[in-house]
């Protein structure tokens, strides 16, 4: 992806210089290889700090909500990976961002890496990861290691939606077109095959780790309420902490319900969770149910599509069927 990085810096510099855009929303290098930070660049000389590498998993589309609202002049150039463009379209559909203020460069991606997965493999004190195609060379304080690239992919990349950009003004891509990822409903099927007691135990174990830091909610492009009910002191549901083990489940389940039909499965919730809770499984369960009850639907595939949950057709599943399924 170093090639893409070079091309992006060159092109973004041109677009800044000719006035097409006045700022660039991209990724900034950190102290290490994995700690890239989403950042705005306002001049061509700042772009030397622009990073585009294997740890740029963050989905930048949500930052456009605030960026479109501020009073700064000119267009915002944003770097979007193929999967990020689904969130972008969904935000357009929900009128949360202004297409006229945005210039999208679609950036090619061969799958982003997950530092947490590398650590879980037992690598300690990682100081550098060199991407050699199918293999990673891992430099650590305690010696050099290797692992397969495929084993270190972010969950969202394991289940890659494909290399097509669903929105762009131009595309910079030199990667070979890759295969679509693994079946994203495999994990859901595992849960569905459990007994309700087993499933409850699974979620209890996972969700009891929750520290209510709200990282999942704040990073989620579908969570764009001006004031979240869980932050609103007069809602009766506000909470800075899980008062008991029921409440942490309520928070996550309500959030999953609220984004159902709008969640593009961008996977940011699971990526940022400091406790590694597989929150994407809740969303994917809803997506799978919607697919089965109303026909295949992918949020963010196109702008302005009517999601099954806010649309009515005579072919809709009867409420009784939905009800029965709920009693499974």
């Amino acid at each position: 992806m170093q090639k893409v990085r070079g091309l992006v810096i060159k092109r973004a510099g041109e677009l800044l210089s000719d006035g097409t855009v006045t700022r660039v929303l991209g990724y900034k290098c950190g102290d290490f290889f994995y700690d890239v930070t989403p950042a705005f660049f306002e001049s061509a000389d700042q772009l030397s700090d622009l990073e585009y590498g294997s740890f740029c998993g963050a989905n930048l589309s949500k930052y456009l909500i605030n960026a479109c609202k501020d009073q700064k002049e000119g267009k915002i150039l944003v770097l979007l990976k193929p999967c990020d463009t689904y969130s972008f379209n969904q935000l357009l559909t929900e009128h949360r961002i202004d297409r006229d203020k945005i210039y999208v460069i679609g950036v090619g991606c061969k799958g982003m890496l997950d530092i947490e997965k590398l650590k879980a493999m037992g690598f300690k004190g990682i100081t550098k990861v060199l991407d050699n195609g199918d293999e990673l060379d891992i430099k650590t304080i305690y010696g050099d290691k290797k692992c397969k690239r495929a084993d270190a992919l972010l969950e969202k990349c394991v289940c890659c939606k494909g290399k097509d950009f669903k929105a762009f003004d131009e595309v910079i891509d030199v990667e070979e077109p890759g295969e679509k990822g693994a079946d994203r409903f495999e994990g859901v099927a595992l849960l569905e095959n459990m007994t309700s007691e087993e499933r409850f135990a699974f979620w209890n174990n996972e969700l009891s780790k929750c520290i209510r830091c709200n990282a999942c909610r704040n990073v989620c492009p579908a969570c764009s309420c001006m004031k979240c009910v869980f932050d609103n002191p007069v809602s009766g549901a506000a909470g800075k902490v899980n008062s008991n083990s029921f409440e942490e489940k309520m928070f996550h389940i309500i959030r999953a319900f609220h984004v159902a039909g709008r969640c593009t499965d961008c996977g940011e919730c699971s990526r940022v969770c400091p406790q590694g809770i597989p929150l994407h499984l809740l969303n994917r369960k809803f997506i799978k149910d919607i697919d089965e009850l109303y026909g295949d639907y992918q949020a963010g595939e196109e702008v302005g599509s009517r999601a099954p949950l806010v649309n009515f057709t005579f072919d809709d599943a009867e409420p009784s069927i939905v009800h029965e399924r709920g009693n499974e």
Binding site: F32, V36, T37, D231, P274
Partner: protein, 341 residues
Amino acid sequence: MYTIEKSKLSDLFGAISASCELYLPVKKAGQNNFTKYEAGTEYCDELKTVKSPKDMFFPQSENIVSFEKTDGKIKVTPDTIPTEKTVVFGVRACDVASFDVLDRVFLSEPADSFYKARRENCTVVATACSEPEESCFCSVFGIDPSEPKADVATWFVGEKLYWKALTEKGEELTKAVASVLTEENADGTVEAEKAKIKEIVKNLPLASLSLDGWDGDATEAKFDAPEWEKLSASCLGCGACTFVCPTCQCYDIRDYDTGHGIQRYRCWDSCMYNDFTMMAHGTPRPSQLQRFRQRFMHKLVYFPANNDGMYSCVGCGRCVNKCPISMNIAKVIKAFGGDKS
């Protein structure tokens, strides 16, 4: 000095938990957190827990008083001060140092009675960091991870755990579990381990951070600095950094309507949240820039100003690992020029 075979750790934990509650790092659903010991619980030797052990003394949420209305009268019941004796095992040197920071806040007069009781009832068993990681920078704050200053210091070397009591409380615990420990003159082994750790720490990538310019008198120089805008620009305003931080100590007090009364509780707050320090007139920090700045100014300027120069960061590096956008105190210090390398 005492030792115990690593393979017999469960004997040690059994002996400790016979007379008190034992908390130690345990892996559950893939994550390492301090957890109450029960027979069969396995110690996790990973360097860092996700949450720090500050919950031991300052739990994320605790009830403080309840109000109940019966027969036209209001009954006020303060929650009782905890009396359980506890031991926390496997605390790293940075986290031990974080207790000194928390003590400054909660034990200064008027002392916080809940915190004080938990602190006094707890014996801290620290473990030296045999393999520090790239995100560690405790040495910048003068902390030595080879020699944690707790009630008991321990070192894992080879197949053994080396145990040394450092305080009266530590001596007492050692006596209580003496039956499973072996007395051994192992100073040479432990000294060699310490030297090995010190060498690693010296060469860690963040060891060159410099705190020059950060002290109790830096408010004017730092408060309006242009750096804050860029640093805070992509902050999500979540509380991940504050909730994994061992020294963040801000809390909120809330009332929960139980339907027949009120349960008043205290819970961790985060300066990153938009209702932080909300007052009748509104919030004094309406922008994320202001809230972001507060966190770092508090740790590196306001806290030292009020606490004899003590910083309220211990360089544990949890924020380096856990911030969703990888913005952290090390980057803040560097952005202001604080790097000696």
